[in-house]
Amino acid sequence: MLAEKYAQEIQTILAKYPPDQRRSAVMPLLYIAQRDKMYVNREDMAEIAEILGITPTEVASIVGFYSLYYEEQKGKYHIQVCTDLPCALRGAERFMQELCSRLNIRPGETTADGLITVEPVMCLAACDKAPMFQVQSGAGLSYHENQTVESALALIEQLRSDATRKRGRDSHV
């Protein structure tokens, strides 16, 4: 339940909107849900709808509209490679294909350990520094420009060991 886990944060968000325009808080509440699990499930949509006094369908429609909200559980880290035209001209597509084959997945898929998802996205406003991608995770966004497959793989290794360390720590508390 988001309402219990993030009571204070939700409260602060709602306070920014007049009560009769509560529905405007749908985006920040969806951020919370997505940050929590890296995707928004049906229960979360229903709960957000309840909090905002709109229907679950309306919430789902917003989740569906924005490609950066996920409706299904994928990797813990989303490697979002821009493959729009300017980046493609700088080899972004080939970069993504190769990265994927090195990870043994197809674009849009998640690695076997459930950690890494690679997906093509639209322009991220760093067209001159392609190949580039952003990493989206519960911790937020980070930009990575002028990449090679090797540098990307190195970063992925780093993310994997972070995740293992974190998991280890979590199990000790």
Binding site: R42, M45, T55, P56, T57, A60, S61, G64, F65, S67
Partner: protein, 868 residues
């Protein structure tokens, strides 16, 4: 105030329309068809599909002088825009020149259609919309004929996506016009379907539980311009061009929505005529172009099925056995004659005006008593200060006030909910005065609550703030009476130029609705809101023709069980008291002679001595009087007797009258008006007709004062309505049928007026300290005999339940969906039902939906226990 008029030309035709009119509508008014997909005349334009592109020119205005410039020949200088414009979003302006048939426009439309078809499956041969499809028609009319896109590159998407169990989506066919989504949001106020994803991946989704949870969902299948949305009921059942159409009236509620019944003769049903679907028929004064899902999907009780009664039954040796009409009629004649004044005829508002007229007249001739089987009183007032002729919700706006009291309007009379809401959106002051929250509260300017059991007192509290005569108000209402909101609401009501009151029976029985109706009448009388159009009292009756029954002198009995017990003979027509409340069983003690006339062998019919099989409303002619006092005709769609070979090729309106006529040898079900006339004939009474409904109506018009001057011809009159709908205008208004067979006539008001003022006694009502009080409420999807034949709706109807307060639930340690035993203290009966918990409900209040087998005719003391 008349709107300013604007002159323009469309394809050379001069037009004058009110300022603000959209080009597409101005064109339609002069017979120029501008094709549309996303635009719908009942909704605000969005300009999403670009199908309506036209060339628009406007007079050039000289900046310095502000005068229009002229060409050398003196004509206005017209400047055309560089691009085509959407006729659906552009309002007219003075001197505008619209060109809808130029090469440029044609090319524009061809392009749009070519784009739309790039991913359209073009599976018209297996599409339910095929034959009445705007996309099909507009492609034929304006399309390119050939596509430059590769067929193999078409995007293929899921074709059988249930948005719930009632409506299916074919994703490939959707052209993303947004009509369905907009309808659900703007008109139905149930935004339970929406767009998800973007571009070619866009799809309609529903996340409600159950899916597409709305009483209005069927309307989206009418306005969807392609075959993307279909009802589970009609999907793959027939092709539109095989269907014959009969004009009809919905008989589920007092709105009286105009319907078209589509039938066809089919081999799979042994060559019989079969009812395939129910569609709305336009009547802008009643249902506009909409119907609710109960009307659309709940018609199966009127179809011909194996459970229908086919032959009269007569009790012999303790068993009901098939008999001939001759035998049954003779027996009944003899027995009725011998009891005379001891006869009680109990009939419901499910019957037509003609039926009730003949039944009432027969009963009177015998010296017996007629009783209307209804849970609401107050019709004596609605016949006198009800809706006056000329009243139309569509005309209510800024100058109107509407008070809805004691009614969960969307559940009780869906279309009135829709229309009252629209009136509020147009600026009418909407006051909702109820014991609990309802959907209409969302649109109310004043949303007031009275304590359960004090509806009449609450209305008197409104009266008190306005009138010098101030009836004593009970203790429990004082807080509301003193509130400033109530005073403001009363003032707004009194000061409005026009005002109407809708009163219902939410939580009430006969005695309570009687007092409520009188209190409402007083409010109308002292504020002078009666006797003219758009003013007056409207009863949200439980049945379609209750108003008609009252107009014809029928009234409910304030003590029905006692009346029934005293009778020597009972003639029960279209009513099933025993199913509703087993307490009535006492009346069937075997001593009295009981005749039941119905479609099915009901619980009551099982106890009868004689059972007469009646024709369904689909099989005969008749008329109903809606709550708004509009008398409307319905026509036969099916052959009355399935066993007989069809006498006419199509049961069309003209020749259908023959069908209800008397045959040499009576066989099969007969019309409800005919059976009492047969009895009258045997009894030797004059002045009864049975040969056709129109003859009965002629008698009725001659004898019942408020129907004076009416005839079937008058009821069948039509005039042009806006928006234009029908065959060639499918792309514009949807598959709603055009009304060609009658808009009906509103009855004049009976004399009465100011003399009706009388002050009802309102006793104080307090909830008990122990136990609880069950208040009857109405659910649209009830478990009544007329709806349970519609299998498709069973999931939505659900199992019997009651609604408890949070406190009650925690006391009983029951959670949502648990079972409780509810004991009706007075009746010494108990039933086990599911419990739902409503946080907003006061302690000690139990809500009990009617027709769920719980014996509650009004507020009833109950005890609750958990049931494992």
């Amino acid at each position: 105030m008349m709107a300013k008029m604007v002159s323009l030309t469309i394809d050379g035709k001069p037009v004058e329309v009110p300022e603000g009119t959209l080009v597409v509508n101005a064109a339609k008014k002069v017979g120029v068809d501008i094709p549309v997909f996303c635009y719908h005349p009942k909704m605000e334009p969005v300009g999403m599909c670009r199908m309506c592109l036209v060339e628009i020119g406007r007079p050039v205005i000289d900046r310095a002088s502000g005068q229009p410039l002229r060409e050398e020949d003196g004509s206005l200088k017209i400047q055309f825009g560089p691009k085509l414009e959407t006729a659906c979003t552009t309002p007219v302006s003075e001197g505008m020149v619209v060109l809808g048939a130029t090469e440029k426009v044609k090319a524009g439309r061809e392009d749009i259609l070519e784009f739309l078809l790039t991913s359209h499956p073009l599976d018209c041969p297996i599409c339910d919309k095929g034959g009445e499809c705007p996309l099909q028609n507009l492609t034929m009319g304006f399309g390119p004929g050939e596509s430059r896109y590769l067929y193999d590159d078409k995007k293929h998407l899921a074709k059988h996506v249930p948005l719930g169990e009632l409506i299916y989506l074919d994703r490939e066919r959707c052209i993303q016009c947004g009509r369905c989504v907009r309808f659900q949001e703007l008109i139905a106020d149930d935004p339970v379907i929406a767009f998800s994803q973007r571009g070619r991946s866009l799809e309609i989704v529903s996340y409600s539980e159950p899916g597409f949870d709305s009483y209005w969902s069927g309307n989206t299948t009418d306005i969807c311009p392609v075959g993307a949305l279909t009802t589970a009921d009609f999907r793959f059942r027939a092709r539109p061009w095989e269907l014959k159409a009969a004009a009809s009236i919905c008989n589920h509620c007092p709105v009286g929505c105009n319907l078209t019944l589509n039938v066809r003769r089919e081999a799979v049903s042994g060559g019989k005529w079969v009812l395939k679907r129910v569609m709305p028929r336009q009547n802008e004064a009643v249902n506009e172009i909409w119907i609710c899902d109960k009307g659309r999907l709940g018609y199966h009780f009127g179809a011909q099925n194996a459970e229908r009664l086919e032959k009269p039954l007569v009790r012999k040796n303790g068993e009901l056995q098939p008999a001939t009409w001759q035998e049954a009629l003779e027996l009944v004649t003899e027995r009725f004659q011998s009891v005379g004044r001891g006869l009680i005829t109990l009939a419901s508002g499910r019957l037509s005006n003609e039926d009730l007229f003949n039944l009432g007249k027969l009963t009177r001739s015998l010296g017996g008593k007629s009783i209307l089987y209804s849970s609401m009183a107050g019709g004596d007032l609605t016949t006198q200060i009800g809706f006056a002729p000329g009243t139309n919700f569509a005309d209510m706006g800024k100058e109107s006030a509407i008070l809805v009291v004691g009614s969960d309007l969307e559940e009780e009379a869906p279309l009135w909910w829709l229309r009252v809401r629209q009136a509020a959106k147009r600026g009418a002051t909407l006051i909702v005065l109820n014991a609990r929250q309802t959907k209409l509260d969302r649109d109310a300017h004043y949303s007031l609550r009275f304590p359960f059991g004090t509806a009449a007192a609450a209305v008197l509290a409104l009266v008190n703030t306005l009138s010098p005569k101030r009836p004593e108000l009970p203790e429990s209402i004082q807080e509301l009476a003193r509130s400033s909101e109530l005073k403001a609401a009363a003032k707004a009501f009194a000061e409005a130029k026009d005002a109407a009151i809708l009163f219902g029976g939410d939580g009430m029985g006969l005695a309570e609705t009687q007092a409520l109706a009188q209190a409402c009448a007083n409010l109308l009388l002292i504020t002078d809101h009666f006797g003219r159009p758009n003013n007056g009292l409207l009863g949200v009756w439980p049945r379609a023709n209750d108003q008609g029954a009252w107009e014809l002198g029928w009234q409910p009995s304030m003590n029905l069980p006692a009346d029934l017990a005293q009778a020597q003979a009972l003639y029960i027509v279209a009513a099933d008291p025993v199913s509703d409340d087993p307490a009535y069983l006492n009346a069937f003690d075997g001593q009295k002679f009981v005749v039941v006339q119905d479609l099915y062998l009901s619980q009551t019919a099982r106890l009868a001595d004689v059972v007469f099989p009646a024709q369904a409303w689909t099989e005969r002619e008749g008329s109903y009087t809606s709550g708004e006092r509009r008398v409307q005709r319905y026509y036969p769609a099916l052959q009355p007797n399935a066993a007989l070979p069809p006498r006419v090729e199509s049961p069309g309106s003209r020749r259908a009258q023959v069908l209800t006529g008397l045959r040499a040898e009576l066989d099969g079900p007969q019309a409800d008006f005919a059976i009492p006339a047969f009895l009258a004939e045997k009894l030797g009474y004059e002045g009864f007709v049975h040969a056709s409904a129109s003859l009965v109506f002629a008698r009725l018009a001659a004898e019942a004062p408020s129907f004076g001057g009416l005839s079937y011809q008058k009821l069948a009159e039509v005039h042009e309505q806006w928006p234009i709908v029908g065959r060639s205008d499918l792309y514009y208004g949807g598959t709603t049928y055009e009304n060609t067979q009658g808009l009906g006539v509103q009855l004049p008001l009976a004399q009465g007026g100011a003399s009706l003022l009388s002050w009802p006694q309102v006793a104080d009502f307090k909830l008990p300290k122990l136990g609880g009080i069950a208040f009857p409420i109405t659910r649209l999807y009830d478990r009544g005999a007329t709806l349970m034949h519609s299998q498709l709706l069973h999931k939505r109807i659900g199992e019997p339940y009651i609604i408890l307060s949070k406190q009650e639930a925690s006391r009983l340690k029951i959670s949502q969906g648990g079972f409780v035993r509810i004991t009706f203290t007075d009746a010494e009966r108990s039933v086990v039902v599911q419990a739902k918990v409503d946080e907003g409900l006061p302690e000690r209040v139990v809500l009990a939906p009617r027709s769920f087998g719980l014996p509650i005719s009004g507020p009833t003391p109950v005890e609750l226990k958990p049931a494992g």
